[in-house]
């Protein structure tokens, strides 16, 4: 199979999350975050530079035998020489030392703020969402936060949030179809998935954005695809990720 044929929406999402990780920085994945967990583990296998991967199970550069279905599973601390637990990683983030954290969202606006709380009146919500977890604290204080969303549509990428769970403006946003990166306080289209035009991205995105510098995404490397295959050998994560195309 050709490399680009294997760049499925799921692979696009995981690999582009991984590509936000910078050499030398401290990167974090949290609860309910299978795709960021995969991205961090994939980056460890695929890139030659060093970075520190800490996770919500307390692991510091852990070497789990396989990727657990629960992104807070104790397996994520296997091989770690310390347990850097909840109070520690939140405090680290609060004092400005977290290089990159990945945050989920139900809705994202063009400034990179998120809603993970509710649709409708917060006192009597039409839909109660899971809640932002660490986001309201982490988004404003992490050096960079990158949002991941498995559905790219006008109901998820919105001009105006129903509720602002976390503000402060994420550095980036990755969906199955596009990668956005902040330019001058707004998310701008950076990459689009293969075969997707900027016009199509615009049609499926509720917020306005700049696409002047948008380019087709660089194809995945053999190492990236090999690492993803090793992390998800039976396709369980791909099948369960809830990727929703527009």
């Amino acid at each position: 199979m050709s490399e680009d044929a294997r760049f499925t929406p799921f692979a696009f999402l995981v690999i582009n999350l991984a590509r936000f990780i910078l050499p030398g920085e401290i990167t974090f994945s949290g609860v309910n975050s299978s795709l960021p967990m995969l991205a961090c583990l994939l980056a460890k296998k695929s890139y030659d530079f060093h970075f520190t991967y800490i996770n919500v199970a307390g692991g510091v550069d852990a070497v789990p035998a396989s990727a657990p279905l629960s992104s807070s599973d104790p397996q994520l601390a296997v091989g770690s020489c310390s347990i850097f637990a909840n109070e520690d990683f939140y405090d680290l983030c609060c004092r400005g030392r977290m290089g990159l954290c990945f945050l989920g969202a139900a809705q994202v606006d063009g400034a990179g703020n998120t809603n993970m709380s509710c649709i409708g009146d917060p006192h009597s919500p039409k839909v109660r969402l899971p809640g932002g977890g660490g986001a309201a604290v982490m988004l404003p204080v992490a050096q960079r936060a990158v949002i991941w969303r498995t559905e790219h549509s006008t109901r998820t990428l919105v001009e105006k949030l129903d509720f602002t769970t976390a503000a402060g403006g994420a550095h980036g946003l990755v969906t199955p179809y596009a990668v956005f990166e902040k330019i001058g306080g707004r998310l701008a289209l950076k990459y689009r998935n293969k075969g997707i035009t900027p016009a199509e991205v615009r049609k499926r995105t509720g917020f306005t954005f700049d696409a002047a510098d948008a380019a087709p995404v660089p194809l995945p490397t053999q190492r990236e695809l090999g690492a993803l295959k090793a992390l998800d050998p039976n396709g369980l994560f791909a099948a369960g990720a809830g990727i929703r195309l527009w």
């Binding site: 992104s71 909840n86 109070e87 609060c94 009597s124 899971p130 660490g134 404003p140 204080v141």
Partner: protein, 276 residues
């Protein structure tokens, strides 16, 4: 001489009264005091308040049984591939459960205020979040003149902290393996600490490694030995998540299923649950 803190699971549950606020240990599918939660349902406890940064199965089954009235949480989900916690979601949407939404670190700040003995605890971030307005939190300027503003969270002092441990001594010293999640802070913030444990361990073994002890005996009010007490979640180093157990909990919405689930849980069959 040390007084034994050992009680049965039933006695432990009876120390929790209707309307109590409970700080539950663990996180999502991991090392939650799930057997104790089920015992609260079996014994008909009502109007409970749940305090936990990331509850899942525990708050969901309490909502399913109608046992909970209020919750203070950061994120609620079944995790893995299971998504929403359906009965929790329904309870909030129907107005049956009053939710005070937090970020995990603001809940920790409230617990720290209680643990530190101060009227509020500053926390970084939060700026621009609607959660602050919703909870009427105050934002104060630095009294030392840095010009920075800071959100402050009032104390969160659970009536009772309930944690599930890997090992405990008869006297009530408590040890966990892997991450303590928020359990250390929780036990310092609460007025009372109740513990379920996978097994009892001779205190000489604890004395060899005192720095591994999470909760010292004088802080622990009672301990019950409950093997597989975190089922269907995990407990290091003994067992992982029972994903089929979670799947079947979610796939069977009937009341009959809930009754069977409660009747057949590991703590009702101690002879099967005991470990080699």
């Amino acid at each position: 001489m040390n007084t034994s803190k050992l009680v049965s699971l039933q006695i432990l549950a009876s120390m929790i009264k209707d309307g109590d606020s409970l700080g539950l240990g663990g996180s999502l599918l991991h090392r939650g005091p799930f057997a104790l939660v089920r015992e609260l349902i079996r014994s008909g406890r009502r109007h409970l308040e749940i305090i936990k940064a990331s509850p899942g199965y525990d708050i969901d089954i309490l909502c399913r049984a109608g046992s909970v009235a209020k919750a203070r949480c950061g994120i609620v989900a079944m995790e893995g591939q299971f998504g929403f916690a359906p009965w929790y979601r329904k309870a909030v949407e129907n107005g049956v459960l009053e939710l005070e939404e937090h970020a995990c670190a603001t809940l920790a700040a409230g617990l720290r205020a209680a643990a530190f003995g101060v009227p509020f605890q500053p926390v970084a971030g939060v700026h621009g979040s609607d959660i602050a307005k919703l909870n009427n939190w105050a934002c104060i300027s630095d009294p030392y003149g840095s010009g920075k503003d800071c959100w402050v969270i009032p104390p969160i002092r659970p009536d009772i902290a309930v944690i599930h441990a890997a090992e405990a001594t008869l006297a009530g010293d408590v040890r966990v393996y892997g991450t303590p999640h928020w359990d250390r802070l929780l036990t310092r913030a609460a007025k009372c600490v109740l513990v379920t444990t996978e097994r009892l361990v001779d205190e000489a073994l604890f004395a060899e490694r005192p720095e591994w002890t999470l909760v010292p005996r004088f802080m622990t009010d009672a301990v019950a030995v409950v093997p597989r007490g975190a089922w269907p979640g995990s407990c290091l180093p003994f067992y992982g998540v029972d994903f089929q157990g979670i799947e079947s909990y979610l796939a069977n919405p009937g009341e009959d299923f809930l009754r069977t689930h409660l009747q057949n849980a590991p703590e009702t069959r101690p002879e099967d649950a005991s470990m080699d």
